[in-house]
């Protein structure tokens, strides 16, 4: 009996160890579509403007990215540009290119500051409170009023 309990404990310990090694980012190996991640996160947010999904080939107009290195992308933005509201998700083919995306996201945030700071300062709260998260080969940028649930929702997609 004691051996049985020891065995069970050992197996449980191993399982816990393996789970710990994998960390939060390797829990299921799911590779969701960027648009699905955007939708899941956006569904938890409230937007002032009617939002639109930017056409694929227009993404490079606002993100300085080498699209050859991007496996998937989806940008959900203010439909009229009246607000800085945005949920954008990028998936890179190779994790070595994550930094490229992070840099592009940082540049996007700077561009939005440039656009709104003197023109529509009310939007600066969203821009200054921009949330950027990474999970595996995915990067998300969110600029919205209440972003408190973004991290939880984003990580739940994997």
């Amino acid at each position: 009996m004691r051996k049985l309990i020891s065995g069970i404990l050992a197996i449980a310990a191993c399982a816990a160890l393996l789970a710990g090694c994998g960390g939060k980012e390797a829990d299921s190996g799911k590779q969701p579509a960027a648009a699905d991640v955007v939708k899941a996160v956006a569904d938890e947010l409230t937007f002032k403007d009617a939002m639109i999904t930017l056409e694929d080939d227009m993404v490079e107009n606002i993100y300085n990215l080498d699209m050859e290195k991007i496996a998937d992308k989806s940008c959900y933005i203010s439909g009229s540009r009246a607000t800085a509201e945005e949920v954008s998700v990028f998936q890179v083919k190779d994790s070595a290119d994550l930094q490229m995306v992070k840099d592009a996201v940082a540049e996007r945030i700077d561009d939005q500051k440039h656009a709104y700071e003197s023109y529509n300062p009310g939007e600066m709260v969203k821009i200054n409170g921009a949330v950027t998260l990474t999970h595996g080969n995915y990067v998300i940028l969110v600029m919205a009023d209440d972003t408190s649930k973004v991290e939880e929702t984003f990580n739940a997609q994997f």
């Binding site: 002032k48 403007d49 009617a50 639109i52 930017l54 056409e55 080939d57 227009m58 107009n61 606002i62 203010s78 439909g79 009229s80 540009r81 009246a82 607000t83 540049e107 561009d111 440039h114 656009a115 709104y116 003197s118 023109y119 529509n120």
Partner: protein, 317 residues
């Protein structure tokens, strides 16, 4: 040349080369004499008729012209100096052009114009625009991003390349705070400067667009209309073309419909950009009037003609 066929010696016949050479020599001599006489006569005729541009085909000797009309198209192809129409009002509806018309165009403007790029409305055209730009900051605000990440003012960027058409839409950020005289004075300077920077371009000035009743910028459509009326007069004075785009954006009350701009009452989405560009494609200087076009509010009839920079446009019928 002689009517007699020239014999070409292909056979073994000997010593027949000299008569042939003689004939050729005579023919050349006659041709030279004729050419000399012809040149002398033509030169005299040309000296006599160097007056008005009576022969549009002979563009190698451009007719005397005022500074405004002297600029030919950059391509400097033969049939230039087309006379473009002058309108008593806005550019009237014309036959539709294809998107390629905008290949050599540039759009100068504020946040409204930035949407052309963002939404990919006309991917083949250049856009020099930035949020919040007005008739003063178009010269000073570091707006247009360069390859190295720095930004330069729109008017500086405009000088980096020559265009055949310049579309301007500014003033939306002036309406609330400026008086009409200041607005017109600043717009007049801008038009002058654009023509100096882009001497070969056709300049289109687009109306300020309407806003919704409850827009968040406290803008007033009556004041916009008044500014636009003054802008039309300015365009006539400056000899540039006014496009009454605003007429396509107004509802029955003369305002931008609320549904077009739910967030701030001024900016709109891709659907309205399509409306905008449909209007631009069907209001083109140098194109024949639309076959079934109804008379438009501000579009008056063509009264006369004046040569306009950017004469490489389609021939005016």
């Amino acid at each position: 040349m002689s009517d007699r066929p020239i014999k070409i010696n292909r056979g073994p016949k000997k010593n027949s080369i000299w008569p042939v050479l003689g004939l050729i020599g005579a023919a050349i001599a006659i041709a030279l004499i004729i050419a000399f006489v012809w040149q002398s006569m033509a030169g005299g005729a040309q000296a006599q008729s160097s007056g008005p541009s009576s022969s549009p085909a002979s563009s190698s000797s451009p007719p005397p012209s005022t500074p405004e009309e002297s600029s030919a198209a950059p391509s400097s192809s033969e049939p230039e100096e087309e006379e473009l129409p002058v309108f008593d009002g806005a550019v009237p509806e014309s036959e539709r052009v294809k998107s390629t018309y905008f290949d050599d165009a540039v759009f100068v403007g504020d946040s409204i114009t930035t949407g052309i790029d963002l939404y990919g409305v006309m991917k083949n055209t250049d856009v020099l625009a930035d949020t919040g730009v007005n008739l003063g900051s178009v010269y000073t605000k570091e707006a247009v991003k360069q390859e190295d990440g720095t930004r330069i003012p729109i008017m500086d960027a405009l000088g980096q390349k020559q265009y055949a058409k310049v579309y301007i839409m500014l003033g939306g950020n002036e309406v609330r705070d400026e008086d009409q005289q200041t607005f017109i004075s600043r717009y007049g300077k801008l038009i002058d400067d654009v023509r100096e920077i882009q001497p070969n371009a056709l300049v289109y000035v687009q109306s300020i667009l309407p806003v919704t009743l409850n827009n968040q910028y406290n803008m007033n459509n009556d004041k916009i209309d008044t500014f636009n009326a003054a802008l039309l007069e300015l365009c006539k004075e400056k000899g540039v073309y006014y496009l009454n785009v605003a007429e396509k954006f107004k509802d029955e009350n003369g305002r931008l419909p609320d549904a077009a701009s739910p967030a701030d009452g001024m900016h709109f989405g891709p659907d309205y950009y399509q409306i905008w560009f449909t209007y631009l494609k069907t209001h083109v200087v140098g194109m024949p009037p639309a076959a079934s076009s109804e008379p438009e509010d501000l579009a008056a009839e063509t009264s006369s003609s004046f040569p306009e920079p950017g004469a490489e446009l389609e021939t005016v019928e």
